[in-house]
């Protein structure tokens, strides 16, 4: 069987966009906003491509659950170096558990030895899909990866945890989620974008995979965060230290 990596990606509001909350509290403004591949997912894909370039995988399949528009992000992934794309069409956002259930169906079909995802999407900041997928698949998980070494049907994964770095060994297949310092994704060049148009992109639906999306969480309202009061400027180190003393912030 072909040695395959499946990478899950999400179309999200671009990292550089300054989000605005709608005045009626129904959500954030998405009309006309630049959309991109979730940066952590891009890192996951870069890692998959590098693993393939090292000869440790034969095919990289990129998958996304989302509206028709997310095919643009899947094409970007194909231009980066993915071989094939799977688009599971959903016009409404899916919760992480539903996304994980859909990805599990794709995994059962594709039989990868490794599944890579970003550690979180920068829109909902949930950070759940990879772990949920690993649980449903009854396979190991290694989250927040900053290094992945593959050998003998196992992966040694270095993880960025609160205390520092931790290394786990997991049996393959496994789910690994990418942290920021796993790699620096490559830039896509124009010829690759042209070539990517010819790469296969298959569209599926959740229903065709036997999944009925469930909605558990209801967003009641979305508000802008409270703003901090504008502070004051001081002119030099002495004034700064005096101001901190006055506020009682230097006493131990």
């Amino acid at each position: 069987m072909m040695k395959r990596i499946v990478v899950g990606i999400k179309r999200v509001v671009d990292y550089n966009v300054r989000i605005r909350v709608k005045p009626d509290g129904s959500g954030v403004v998405l009309d006309g906003v630049k959309m991109s591949v979730n940066p952590f997912d891009e890192i996951a894909l870069e890692e998959a491509i590098r693993i393939k370039e090292r000869g440790l995988a034969e095919e990289v399949v990129v998958a996304s659950v989302g509206p028709a528009d997310c095919q643009a992000q899947l094409r970007t992934c194909l231009a980066m170096g993915a071989d094939r794309a799977l688009h599971v069409h959903s016009d409404t956002p899916t919760e992480p558990l539903t996304t994980a259930r859909i990805l599990l169906k794709l995994i059962e079909r594709e039989q990868p030895f490794l599944v890579l995802l970003g550690k979180q999407a920068i829109d909902d900041d949930n950070g759940q899909t990879g772990q949920m997928l690993a649980a449903l698949w009854q396979r190991p998980q290694a989250t927040f990866a900053s290094k992945i070494a593959l050998a003998d049907g196992k992966a040694q994964v270095t993880r960025e945890v609160d205390a520092g770095l931790e290394t786990l060994e997991v049996d393959l297949p496994a789910v690994v989620t990418a942290d920021l310092r796993l790699n620096e994704p490559r830039y896509v060049k124009l010829p690759e974008i042209m070539k990517a148009k010819k790469k296969p992109l298959e569209t599926l639906s959740a229903e065709s995979l036997g999944i009925t999306p469930r909605v558990h969480l209801r967003a009641v309202r979305v508000l802008a965060p409270p703003q901090r009061q504008k502070g004051m400027r001081v002119e030099n180190a002495a004034e700064l230290v005096a101001a901190l003393k006055e506020k009682g912030l230097l006493a131990s």
Binding site: I19, D123, E166, V220, L244
Partner: protein, 313 residues
Amino acid sequence: MSAAILIVAEHDGSTLAAGTAKCVACAATVAQAEITVVVCASEAAAVARQAADLQGVHRVLTVEHPIHAHPLAAAIAPQVAALAGPYTHVFGPSSTFGKDLMPRIAALLDTAQVSDIMAVEGPYRFRRPIYAGNAIVTVEVPEDMKVVGTVRTASFPAAGTGGTARIEKVGAPAEPPTHTRFISSSAAKSDRPDLQTAARVISGGRALGSAEAFQMLYRLADKLGAAVGASRAAVDAGYAPNELQVGQTGKIIAPELYVAIGISGAIQHLTGIKDARTIVAINKDPQAPIFEVADLGLVGDLFEIVPQIEKLL
């Protein structure tokens, strides 16, 4: 209607992490909550005693198995899922421990997760940040569903001590998998205060320019009894180790005093410090976004200013 809340304890084998006391404080804001803490460990007694000492905890359950010598999500999740039956809520801290573990528990329980709970509006209604904290969403979970959640620890005070919860051994309800093995940990032992709980934090950014220059911040921090933090740019550049990173993808902190030195203030960084009581910014660029949130701003060369501050303390 009362809530039965199970909290998964975070610990290092001997000491209960501060985040657990914050989960207890969060759980205590749910009306009529009965709070149980579960400790999964190879030897749970010491940690269980600390959990039982927390105000508001009714009961502590201990799950002992050699595999729990290290906090492996794949091993802990089935234990917690097996115990979760009688509970309405299962909470853990939104530390890397809880972020790794809780979604795995949620999936085993076939339920959704509410990540980064920052306020409890009702037993099934919570506020949480999205878009790096640039929007706050109130979410409702159906009342017939178990609520799995991670608690944004910076949003809650730590529960006090002096509690008298009873401790119950429950053995190991599930047989943990063998597919995941702990190899090593680089956790550096430091005498400095812990970044996540420190009252004062000195934090450095790209403008420090080198790991050597970063040492200047450690000296200042030691004079102030402060923890040291860093921006993503400083960690990416190798000036500081990853565990110091503050921001959307690093640590979310709420110290009394946060001093940002040579940090421009990307929104991803600001989301990690929004709850700080007082923010001080020292930066050469008067237009740096950090000044928009700073209570005290000083425009100037950090290489001159930091040694001057050190002398004045």
